[in-house]
Symmetry: D2
Subunit: 338 residues, 4 copies
């Protein structure tokens, strides 16, 4: 950490600052420049509050030189994290394809869709039971009942199930779930993250609409600090000024997060743009860029879907996309699933 | 709502679409253009799912012509909402100034700060008991204990208290609180919003970092749909590409939200930029633009604050800012407080 | 185009509006809704000024239903545009790789780099002669002299040359250039676009940092309206809130622009993030997503480059990246170059 | 400037780096940390290219500690710059109101509007002769003819005239103009900025849609580096994800730019949002926040305007807004005009 001193910083104020740092085991190295004096801090600065430094009289600005995320940082854990999910794993070089409807709507719907997804080659099943909807007047999901239907679909197909949690208080309802998803709008719902840090399920953590990669890693840190190391990061598009697509897929996040962190990376090409015709090219691009998993919305009858109809693939179209995905995975020497 | 048909839309597909609309009491008016055929929908379209329309074979695009928010919409409720808060009100043309520390840290700290805020002219007291922090390694607040200290500060000063909730399960702890705040990161924590819709406390709803004004109004709608009409909207800066300020205060939101909605508007100039020297000009600008309330961070000793030290005012500086605020309120013919 | 009328719109004002439209050959279809009356316009609305409609007393809002770009629109020109560039073409399904230094610095530098690029498999040579730099104190390029050095490098290698223009007045200096590049900061320099519309060179038009895809197509429209149909669109990263990368590559723009327009698409993975290690994955992702060309910065000695040193590849690293690019092109059945 | 070294940086590479810095008169101070070694640079680093440092083997990252703008920096020029404009000045604590139509359309239109603006209290006249339009099919302005009409309007009213330049080659046509405006889309048209640096007219430099304040100051630096110190900065709204307003007025830029720079600041509330009803509150907020000038679009008949009809005020509405502006200026002890 580097402190930039004000031009008119008082010696006494600087002395007090240094003493307060010394107490925390941090030593201060002065560099006197032509226009600017700076102090370089040596020691473990992870507990230092930048805001606190900024409040000191003599401080003009502070520049961090270290990354604030620790447990998710590849520097300190060079090997890829491999996360077991029921009978398979994520992060070992294989490619997982998580497919299924936006919302679980009925037993028939989820089982029909799950069978179609499996036949096309999906390796896990997704389905929303608790639905975060922008409008209170929209379908809010079947709740706990939806999870039971997912379990039935797993019995039918063998596919591990992935579903979203919106409230730490509901955690008991997720006992039978294989991967718990945290939605983009809850990425900084820290109470929820703390609750998930205490469970031992894999967590699929979606990047918030306007959250930086560093903030995504800090949210992973919340879960990991609680003891749960099984975090899968998920890029699903960020909010920008562009209006032709619902969000902007930040494809660079895939290789960059893999460089900065040892956690596996998933991409959700469905929410990324909300445009059905882009799901195939974005899926292929994500795999080539290094994604460990894809999460794709598929519905047995999108025209009568209770949510997100416009961005869900039909089983037939999904089968076409999967054929291309399998092909490129084979080209890259990666197998689908385990 | 206007549906733009695909160039090659099949008559049969259009017929099915129209029938499905007729069932919902909506009639379809065709307009055949040179390059594009469109259908204008007549009837109550608030229950129509745009996504569902987009999933139909014949549909290229959909344009909404009505605003999706109802209970918060000024069109249907022309009069300003006035919200009673203990012995005062928000939204009646008066100006409320909510001041206090980022976090409640100790009895001495909150009481000293509360007294100083009151002396300078603040009309309500803020203080964080549950703290949403980006890093799990930062101070997380005193929790329920913090709320008890706020109550003591209210006993001492008479100032109504405002504090943030992060989890619907904690609602009982807020029984003594006068205004419950929802932080920016929880603006779309719909489970929390639903819980608050069932209580009868005023809710200070902060705009999310990357949420549009329409989404803010839809989140207000969640609370109001539950039966709680006492919602105060709060602009606190949005996330943009600019890096010199922490966020970008969207000052236009003040007059525009007042035009679109009957709910009172608060501005938080402290979080808006994170720069102490900008709090005064942004406070004055917000008042002139029509804000009903300001929320300003003040700490009795920012240099030793456990959070957000850099953006909190000292009591002395706050007194200076308040003198200017009182002055401009007087110029505008608005009184401070009730 | 759909006009949404104000609730209290006067019949007389509506009548005047309709008459002014009739003069332009546009007829108005009324749809009276429960809460909102709208008018659907039939006829050629491309000459209608939305702003003008918004200024009428009776108008609350206007929604466009047609795309404002014509000549670049695939709807009206279904076939891909194929652009001849010297002895090769862009847009026929082949993959072009434009490589070379950020700036032309000296004869030795450009020729050494050009030879290395060609050996690695590049099919065109880029190099900046006129340099748009944020700071007036940075190296501003060799100007016309730089173009002469590029021509020498072409003589040496046979690679067609691509270089940026900043001022329409310099057009004569570009007589020997094969492709003229318009930089992101000049995407809406309409005077420059008009000048380029009158020349017959292929134009590589880079998307502005904060410009939508529609605006990019409108800028292409400027060039095409002048008579020059040889426009290549280039995605090079847009400005977002993310700070870990210099810009955010909008990979969705590749398949979406190809869907909306018949013009060829190039991707610049170097400027997209400014991070050398991401050039390979982003290049591969772009090719898979459908890009017709890549533009990659390569310098014979990045450590002593006069500009953008940090994001330029060494010839050795470029050769590695090219090996992967050739491999994936072969997998996709696309040849490099013609 | 602080260099963060790679963990595995080679001593030889560091030695070479230091030598290359020494040649430029910069000394390197080493700070060895627990996890990170850094080098603090002492000397005049304004000529150092960050990109060049990033290209060195041993460098992981670079953090600037000094601001890159010099001539526009208040640190080096503490006093406010006061710019003479014909018979008045900008930047001396007075408030200038620049009003007039988006485009000059005819002699009658500009003279009628100019008279109305003057009567309402405007102190300068704006009007577009060269118009940057997103679409090539929109009205492009009267060009040089428009400037002649502005001069006539000045003769009629005495108001100094402000108009936009789009091309350095047109500079001769601006000989009679009092203030030359650079539009947002040309803020980084460096060729144009260089040309303006060589003239001696005041320049009203508009912030680009997606440009940071630092970049705005760097563009001012381009003009000032050429010898023309008469630069007025103009905030006119930036591009964000919000769609209810055309742009987002960055009100914080007013006090922050005045803190960082000695140049006067103008605000354009018309382009900031494109919504007529917001012009008044945003004008008042800007004045209170410290703006030296406002630029407001007024048209004698917005309904028949050839451009931007929807955001231009009628003379009657402008007179109402001006009454409020005069009132608040009086309250603040600032006079309108000189």
């Amino acid at each position: 950490m580097v402190i930039i001193l004000k031009k008119d910083a008082q010696a006494e104020s600087i002395r007090r600052l240094e003493e307060s740092l010394k107490v925390k085991g941090i030593s201060a190295n002065h560099i006197e420049g032509a226009n600017q004096n700076i102090i370089g801090l040596v020691g473990d600065t992870s507990g230092i509050d930048v805001e606190n430094l900024l409040a000191q009289d003599c401080v003009e600005n502070v520049r961090r030189v270290q990354e604030p995320f620790k447990k998710s940082n590849r520097k300190f854990h060079p090997d890829d994290t491999v996360i077991p999910v029921r009978n398979t794993v994520i992060g070992n070089g294989s490619l997982q394809v998580i497919a299924g409807p936006c919302s679980v709507e009925s037993e028939e719907q989820i089982i029909t869709t799950a069978i179609a997804c499996k036949e096309a080659g999906a390796t896990m099943l997704r389905g929303g039971a608790f639905k975060p909807r922008t409008s209170p007047y929209s379908f809010q999901g079947l709740g706990g009942e939806g999870i039971k239907l997912l379990v039935k679909a797993r019995e039918e197909t063998g596919l591990p199930i992935v579903t979203e949690i919106m409230n730490g208080a509901d955690l008991d309802l997720f006992a039978d779930v294989d991967v718990i998803q945290v939605g983009a709008r809850n990425m900084q719902n820290f109470e929820l993250l703390k609750a998930l840090g205490k469970c031992d399920k894999p967590i699929l953590l979606k990047r918030g609409l306007a959250n930086t990669m560093e903030e995504l890693l800090m949210s992973a840190e919340y879960i990991m600090a609680g003891g749960n190391m099984k975090v899968i990061l998920c890029e699903r598009g960020i909010r920008t000024f562009e209006t032709m697509t619902r969000n902007t897929l930040d494809i660079s996040a895939v290789p960059l997060l893999k460089e900065k962190s040892h956690l596996p990376i998933c991409v959700d090409p469905s929410h990324a743009t909300g445009i059905v015709s882009l799901i195939e090219p974005l899926s292929l691009a994500s795999v080539v860029a290094g994604a460990d998993a894809l999460e794709i919305e598929v519905h047995n009858d999108p025209k009568s879907a209770l949510s997100d109809g416009g961005q869900q693939l039909t089983p037939a179209k999904f089968a076409e996309v999967m054929a291309k995905i399998k092909d490129i995975a084979a080209y890259l020497g990666r197998h689908l699933g385990k």
